[in-house]
Structure formats: structure tokens, C-alpha cells
Amino acid sequence: MQSGVTITETKEKTSTELEGTWDVVVFDDPVNLMGYVTKVFEKVFGYPRERAEHLMMTVHLDGKALVWTGTRERAELYAQQLQSYQLQASLEKAG
């Protein structure tokens, strides 16, 4: 019984931690072409060219860029899509 209580508490805690808004962050890498990264941002997020280019340049110059903020579930979906395009992406709890 004790272990059952612990599991429930852990799940509740985990669920609470995942609530709120999350940032999707993309990191720079040594090979991806700038035009490709722009195209991926347009395709995955539906961003207009200008915004996609701005985010791409932020990745290029700063080493990373916050590309989207929203629910955890949606953020995970975007991170998965970005990684399938071979961009390094992660999630961070929005500050």
C-alpha cells in the first residue's frame, strides 16, 4: 500500500510540474544551411518568411533561439518535428 501512495504522489507532482507554458528552443549546429533552417521554421510553425529568417539568424548568432511558447503537449510535438528535420531542439519551462 505504501508504494501505491508514493506512485500516486509522484504522478501528481509530475503532472503539476508539466503544467503551465513551455518554450521550444532550437540550438545552432555546424552544418545546417541557413535557408534550410528558415524553411523548417516556416513549415513546422507556419511562420511568415520574415519571422522565420529572424529566428534563424538568432540561432546562428546567439547559438540558440526561443522559437515557440505554449502547452507542454504541443511543445513536445514541435520539438519532435524539429528533430526529425535534424535540428537540435529542447523544452524549457517558460519563465
Binding site: 540550438f27 528533430q83 529542447s90
Partner: protein, 160 residues
């Protein structure tokens, strides 16, 4: 080797020498020798434990990336087998169909990531340094440059 866009929205690679075939054949091995099976883990290295990425996503990414390499290897092999085996000339054509553009781009990217990881050319490598490279690194650098040029053409003419 010459590469040009097709009317159908793809690319045609005119293979003129045996070396051209070798370079095209080398795309998948370059990616695999560089540990492309580790690429999904590298791309998601910063994901937190809550996401269960290792169980849920990485296996799918591995299969997806392997599929890109299989597509390229199969296309090159099929193009080679179309040639006359009795003919002395190695000339041939490799077609990258419009719908296969992303798979080719991804396979070339895997190869470039692997070569970069192995040889660390750096982002602003100057061609003047090429002569100072040991032979394997020089050869890898030239292939990496070719893969990058092919990616640029895919980006310009094929990828939507």
C-alpha cells in the same frame, strides 16, 4: 559530374566518371561510419526526463533517418544497375524526384554531420588549408563540400 534541375521539380545528376559514382555511393557509409545511429540521441540530448523521449521518440527518429539513407543508397544502386555492364564508360544518370528531395537532403545532412563530428572541419574552413590536411581528411572535406553543394541545389530547386 553535373547536377541540374528537372522540369518535374527534381534534380538530375549526370555521372561522368567512376569517381562520381564512388562519391554518391559514399553518402550512406559516411553517415553510418560517423555513428548516425546516435544522431537522434544527440538531437534530443537536452530534452528532460519527463518527456520519455528515449522510449517514445528516439526509436522513431532512428527508423526515419535510416530510411533516408536507404532511399539514397537504393536510388544510386538502381541508377548504376541501369548502365550497360559491358560498357567501358561509367556514365549514367541519377534522378532525385521532387517527392524524395527531403530524404536526400536529410541523408546528405547526416553524412555532413558525421564527417564534421569526425574531422572537425569547422564552420569557416578555408580551402587554402586543404593541402595541409592528411589524405583521409582532405578526401572527407571534399565530399562534405560536394554534399553541401547538392543540399544547396535541393534547397533552391526541390524543397518546397
Amino acid at each position: 559530374m553535373r547536377v541540374m534541375p528537372t522540369l518535374e521539380g527534381g534534380l538530375r545528376i549526370d555521372v561522368e566518371t567512376a569517381t562520381d559514382w564512388l562519391v554518391l555511393e559514399q553518402i550512406a557509409p559516411d553517415a553510418l561510419q560517423g555513428g548516425s545511429e546516435k544522431l537522434p540521441s544527440r538531437l534530443s540530448a537536452l530534452m528532460d526526463d519527463e518527456s520519455e523521449w528515449d522510449e517514445m521518440v528516439i526509436p522513431e527518429l532512428k527508423e526515419f533517418f535510416n530510411g533516408q539513407l536507404r532511399k539514397v543508397a537504393d536510388t544510386v544502386q538502381a541508377a548504376q544497375s541501369k548502365g550497360d555492364p559491358e560498357a567501358e564508360s561509367p556514365e549514367g544518370e541519377v534522378f532525385i524526384e521532387r517527392e524524395d528531395g527531403l530524404e536526400w537532403y536529410g541523408a546528405l545532412n547526416q553524412a555532413r554531420l558525421a564527417l564534421e563530428s569526425r574531422y572537425q572541419f569547422g564552420p569557416a574552413q578555408e580551402v587554402s588549408e586543404l593541402e595541409a590536411f592528411p589524405a583521409p581528411k582532405r578526401s572527407a572535406f571534399i565530399r562534405s563540400q560536394f554534399y553541401c553543394a547538392l543540399q544547396s541545389l535541393l534547397l533552391e530547386h526541390v524543397l518546397e
